[in-house]
C-alpha cells in the first residue's frame, strides 16, 4: 500500500497497517501473535485487582481494561489488562495501541477511528469480537479527548 501524504493514522500505527497490508493471512496472523506475546499487564503502581469497573472495556468478552496516565510532557501513556488468558487478539490490540499511541499528541489519538480494528485483523472478525476490540480503541480515543478538555 502506498503511503498517502495525509495518512489516516498516527505514523507508527500507519506503518504497522502498511506492513500488515502487504502480508497474506498467515503472515498477518503470525505477526499479530508475535505482537500479542509482548503484552504486559498493567503494573501494580497503576492499578491492582480487582480492577475498577470504570476501566473495563464495554462489550469486550476478553475482559480488557484500559488506564491512562500523563507522561512528564503531558502526553498520555496507556496501560491495559486482559483477564481472559485466551484473549490473544485483545492482547495484540493492547500492544499495538500502546506502542503506536502512547506519547502521541492527544489530538492525533482522538482522531483514530475504531475501524482500525478491521485494518489490523481483517474483515473476517465476528461482530462480537470486533465490538470488543473497537471498544478498546474507543476507550483510548475517549481518554485522549478527555485530556484535551480544559483542566478545571
Amino acid at each position: 500500500m502506498s503511503r498517502n501524504v495525509d495518512t489516516r493514522y498516527p505514523e507508527k500505527l500507519q506503518d504497522l497497517l502498511d506492513t500488515l497490508s502487504l502480508m497474506d493471512r498467515t503472515g498477518r496472523i503470525q505477526l499479530l501473535i508475535d505482537i500479542a506475546e509482548r503484552f504486559e499487564s498493567v503494573p501494580s503502581d497503576v492499578a491492582e485487582r480487582p480492577f475498577a469497573e470504570e476501566h473495563q472495556v464495554p462489550a469486550c468478552e476478553s475482559e480488557a481494561y484500559v488506564w491512562v496516565r500523563r507522561l512528564e510532557d503531558g502526553r498520555p501513556k496507556f496501560y491495559f489488562a486482559v483477564e481472559n488468558p485466551q484473549g490473544i487478539s485483545a492482547k495484540a490490540m493492547a500492544v499495538i495501541l500502546d506502542d503506536s499511541l502512547s506519547g502521541r499528541d492527544p489530538k492525533e489519538i482522538a482522531g483514530v477511528s475504531s475501524d482500525v480494528v478491521y485494518e489490523v485483523f481483517g474483515r473476517e472478525l465476528s461482530m462480537g469480537k470486533s465490538m470488543g476490540l473497537m471498544g478498546m480503541v474507543s476507550m483510548v480515543t475517549h481518554s485522549a479527548k478527555k485530556l484535551l478538555e480544559p483542566r478545571s
Binding site: 496472523i29 464495554p58 468478552e61 495484540a92 475504531s114 473476517e124 472478525l125 461482530m127
Partner: protein, 287 residues
C-alpha cells in the same frame, strides 16, 4: 466437575472429556476440529492433530448470507481428511460457542458422528495439556455429502412469524441488554447491524452461557439445566422451540444443550436471528 456419564444427560455420548481426547490423539477414526471466535487462537497453539474450521471462511457462503452448499461441505470434509465414518470432535474458545456452531452446521449435512469436547480450550488449557503450533495435514478423503437439510434444525423468518403467531416458545440467548433493546450498538459505532432493538415477541431470555460452568467451561448437569430452561422458563421436552441470537452462533450452543443434553427433539436454530429480525419491516418486536 462430575463425570459426563453421571450428569443425567439424555445423550451423554455427544460429549467427550478432555481425558478421552488425550487418549485418542492418535486415533485415525477421530478428527479433532477447533473452531474459535478469535482468529489468532488456533495458530497460537492447538491440541496436537487438530485442524481448524473457521466459521466465516469455512462454514459460510462467501457471497450470499447462507451456509456452504453440498459441494462446499464435501470440499471442507476432504480438506480436513474426514470420511462419513470419522468421529469429529469439536472444541474451541468461548465455552465451545463456535464449536457448537460448527457441530450444528455439520448436522445440516448429516454428519451426525460428532462430539463436543466438554470444557473446550479453557479446560484443556487449565489442565496443562499440550498445545502445539504445527498445522497438521491429512490426505484428502472421498466424502459424499447429502444436500443440506435445513428443515429439521434450522428456522427461517416466515416460519418464525408463524411460530410467534401460534404462541410457541422461543429462547433469546443474547445478553439481557440486547434482549431488552437497551444495547443496540457501541457508543461511537452506530452500525451494529440492526435498526431496531428488543426481542421477538414471546421469547424468553436465557443468555447462552448460563448453560456452562464459568470456572472450567464444562456444561452444567441435566438437573441444573432443567432448573434454568424448565423450572425457570417453562419449557417442556415435547415443545417445539426456536432459539436465536444475533446471527445464529450463540443459539447453536443452546440448540446443542436442549437437543443433546436435555433430549428435546424439536428445536430449530433461527440463524437469521436479530440481524434479520431487527431489520425486517413490519414484524412485531417486544421491548
Amino acid at each position: 466437575m462430575s463425570r459426563i456419564e453421571g450428569r443425567g444427560y439424555s445423550r451423554p455420548e455427544t460429549l467427550v472429556s478432555t481425558e478421552w481426547v488425550a487418549e485418542h490423539l492418535a486415533d485415525p477414526n477421530v478428527r479433532l476440529v477447533e473452531s474459535n471466535e478469535d482468529p489468532l487462537v488456533y495458530p497460537s497453539g492447538h491440541i496436537p492433530g487438530a485442524v481448524e474450521v473457521d466459521w466465516t471462511r469455512d462454514l459460510n457462503d462467501q457471497i450470499r448470507r447462507d451456509y456452504l452448499d453440498r459441494e462446499g461441505f464435501e470440499a471442507l470434509a476432504r480438506r480436513i481428511g474426514i470420511t462419513s465414518e470419522t468421529t469429529v470432535v469439536f472444541y474451541g474458545d468461548k465455552n465451545n460457542w463456535w464449536a457448537c456452531y460448527a457441530y450444528w452446521v455439520f448436522h445440516l449435512f448429516g454428519h451426525t458422528n460428532a462430539r463436543i469436547m466438554d470444557g473446550g480450550r479453557l479446560k484443556w488449557h487449565q489442565e496443562g495439556r499440550e498445545l502445539v503450533r504445527d498445522i497438521p495435514t491429512y490426505s484428502a478423503t472421498e466424502y459424499s455429502a447429502p444436500n443440506r437439510e435445513d428443515g429439521e434444525i434450522r428456522a427461517f423468518r416466515d416460519e418464525v412469524l408463524t411460530h410467534v403467531d401460534k404462541g410457541l416458545p422461543l429462547i433469546d440467548v443474547r445478553s439481557p441488554e440486547e434482549y431488552s433493546g437497551e444495547r443496540l450498538h457501541m457508543p461511537d459505532y452506530p452500525n451494529e447491524g440492526s435498526l431496531r432493538g428488543g426481542h421477538i415477541p414471546g421469547a424468553a431470555s436465557v443468555p447462552w452461557a448460563r448453560a456452562v460452568n464459568p470456572t472450567d467451561g464444562t456444561f452444567k448437569t441435566a438437573d441444573e439445566l432443567r432448573e434454568i430452561y424448565e423450572q425457570e422458563k417453562g419449557l417442556k421436552p415435547g415443545d417445539d422451540v426456536v432459539v436465536y441470537c444475533r446471527i445464529g452462533e450463540r443459539s447453536s450452543h443452546t440448540w446443542f444443550v436442549l437437543t443433546r443434553l436435555l433430549g428435546y427433539d424439536k428445536v430449530r436454530n433461527y440463524d437469521g436471528s436479530w440481524t434479520e429480525w431487527g431489520n425486517l419491516v413490519g414484524v412485531p418486536i417486544e421491548k
